[in-house]
């Protein structure tokens, strides 16, 4: 409780001590140099700048709108003081064996906002730092869960065949690792491709991919791939498909390319038409775009917290939204059933025993039947059907890995699910 936290041997100011408003980031006219966050200086995703940036991404990079349509916002109920107090006080033990309370623990995962729905009604809601109810926040890899749910819907509708090999849809990919990969293998991330996504490694491929997509500054004289699509065509094989889960964002980008090629509909429009305008979302969302306008399907979605919760609630209801089937029930059931945990186990996520990965959702196979969308800085969409619970959380954790917050997050959400299940 000295205002710092340690991860992997490094100490960071905790959630309270790194509050971006209190620190004054981007305040002033102009901001003092030391408080300025620019795209070009490449520190906008460094800590503690990230605590501001994830709620202000469109001010740093180009984006495309996801229109909410013309309908009124769908009601989510109001949080009662009794619910709020009960959840704040909820006791649990974190994976380090320490007794915790739900409310105070939020600061230690650098929470920017959290909404808890029980049976579709809000029972808890909090905002911190740079976030506010109307402000879209980076979903990062929760974007993948949105995109693949749409892709699975297109498969269900017959527009796509997930048994087809990638080059059937994208002949450009014939000379790549994806020459003999099926769409289903892409959707489940079981691809043998040479591509590393270790954020702590400055030479990881994720940075080449980001530079290609215009999401990180390019060095002077840059002559690498000029877009996501160009980058994807450089990917070479490594290992065999369908053997193991291997989390690689390029798979999502490729999946989105197939969706766009076949349907002709931009991802932003598809999200608007099939989800945002149907769910009574409160705010427009947005997607970051690459230099030729292609949205980053692997991580570019920015949504308001309540709208993220609405998507979770749609999944909890197996795609039914008050009588309208927005996502086929079989698509949601297929996700909730998950895939083979043995393939997942090979990926070595020691904090996630028994999990599997299906259509870009993380499936817990736990007592709550929970499946999750996960973003690397603590963003989380936790759908727990057996507790009739949805938790939407935005965070800006200093460590770009869910493993840094899972020791707190997973026990907290399990305890919360049990509490609500008992009601």
């Amino acid at each position: 409780m000295d205002g710092t936290l340690e991860f992997d041997g490094v100490r960071y100011p905790d959630g309270r001590a790194s509050d971006p408003r209190a620190l004054g980031w981007m305040q002033g006219t102009p901001p003092a140099e030391a408080l300025c966050i620019r795209f070009a200086d490449d520190r906008f995703l460094s800590f503690p700048q990230i605590r501001w940036s994830l709620s202000h991404m469109r001010e740093l990079v180009p984006t495309v709108n996801v229109w909410r349509g013309e309908a009124s916002a769908s009601p989510l109920g109001d949080v009662s003081a009794a619910d709020e107090a009960a959840i704040d006080d909820l006791a649990f033990t974190d994976m380090h064996g320490r007794p915790r309370r739900f409310g105070e623990s939020l600061f230690d995962v650098y929470t920017d906002g959290i909404v808890v729905l029980h049976r579709g009604r809000r029972v808890y809601e909090r905002y911190f730092g740079a976030l506010a109810p109307q402000v879209p926040h980076s979903c990062f890899s929760i974007t993948k869960s949105y995109a693949a749910t749409l892709c699975a819907t297109l498969v269900h509708e017959g527009a796509l065949d997930d048994r087809r090999a990638v080059p059937h849809y994208l002949p450009e990919m014939r000379a790549t690792a994806y020459a003999d990969a099926t769409l289903r293998q892409v959707m489940d991330m079981q691809i043998g491709v040479s591509y590393s996504e270790l954020y702590a490694d400055p030479k990881a491929h994720i940075w080449d991919y980001s530079r290609a997509g215009g999401l990180r500054p390019r060095p002077a004289g840059y002559s690498g791939p000029a877009s996501f699509y160009e980058y994807l065509q450089t990917l070479q094989p490594e290992g065999t498909h369908a053997q193991a889960f291997a989390y690689k964002t390029v798979n999502t980008e490729l999946m989105c390319w197939i969706m766009k090629r076949v349907t002709g509909r931009p991802l932003a429009d598809m999200l608007s038409e099939r989800l945002w305008s149907q769910l009574g979302c409160e705010q427009d969302a947005y997607l970051t775009v690459d230099p030729i306008g292609v949205p980053m399907g692997g991580g570019g979605l920015h949504a308001s917290l309540r709208d993220l919760a609405r998507f979770g609630e749609l999944m909890r209801r197996e795609g039914d939204w008050h009588g309208r089937q927005l996502v086929p029930a079989e698509v949601v059931r297929d996700i909730a059933r998950g895939d083979d945990p043995a393939k997942f186990a090979k990926a070595g996520y020691t904090l996630l025993p028994g999990y599997s990965y299906r259509s870009m959702w993380w499936v817990s196979h736990n007592e709550l039947g929970a499946f999750e969308g996960r973003g690397i800085h603590g963003q989380r969409l936790y759908v727990a059907p057996k507790a009739e619970m949805v938790v939407a959380r935005f965070a800006s954790h200093p460590v770009a890995s869910s493993a840094a917050n899972d020791p707190l997050t997973l026990p907290a959400l399990l305890a919360l699910g049990r509490l609500l299940q008992s009601r």
Copy 2:
């Protein structure tokens, strides 16, 4: 009627022939190279690319949201078929002496959309090309009229004193052309400053200003001003203040800097709090921002067409919005009264005899009492109190000068005002 139009000796495809959807700009997965519009290639504001870009600016540059708030959209009535037909058929004579009809003339000013309100109700509405009712379009210099209306409001409220010299608010500007300029001279653009805004001249200062603000690509090794504020501090005197109207966008940028310095409120928040959330705007708007997040007050606003019309209607009603005084009536009356036409005449706008310029509105002193916000590619907000008319128009004219479309626009709007005045 051969599908082309001539301006300054150059022939261009006309509005129909340059429709960006028909031409296929940015369509395809990916778009063909010849149909691709990128920020970096510096042709996104060239014709005909601009016909796409002005409705897609946020996909090219960073932007900040102007939130519409939580209220329902305010009603504007529905267009009747009789009104639509009567206005389409309205006859007038353009400044070249040619007989025209209102409806067909829209293509010759490269109209992207137009809404006409009479007594606050829609009597005409059209969309073309890349625009749709929910899509924000570049207002360009109509942004100035929004910003200066807010500034005049701050003066009225006592937060600012327009008799003060600029360095009173911004000591940084002491060694510039603005050392002895008053805020009022800035608001009325009567500043003796060395700064040229001739868009046809690639060496004009407007391009330095744009590069400083990150709105045009910077050459490799660029070492010029890194933000709007840095650029403003380079401006040197030329001539004397208060002698003549001289249209220079940097004046607006400086005015916005003063507003932000004194109030601490970002322009986007001020627009949201004082206008968007109060007027029942339908869509969020946005402002382009420079590399340190400063919005371009001189031209960065992008709004939906109907929301632009709502602002015009607020001005027509002298700031009263159904019983709430959103802008002081005296501020609007001061704008409508205009300034000294003799000072305006010195600027040499031969198509605008008798005009003046006040608080960044163009005041016609014509029989309709009209005052206008004007964007250089044909964007126009025409408020005609004596006709109880407001016309909001977006366009993407190939020539970056109102002089290219005024020969059609001004007679058309005068004829329309007379028609509605007679009802």
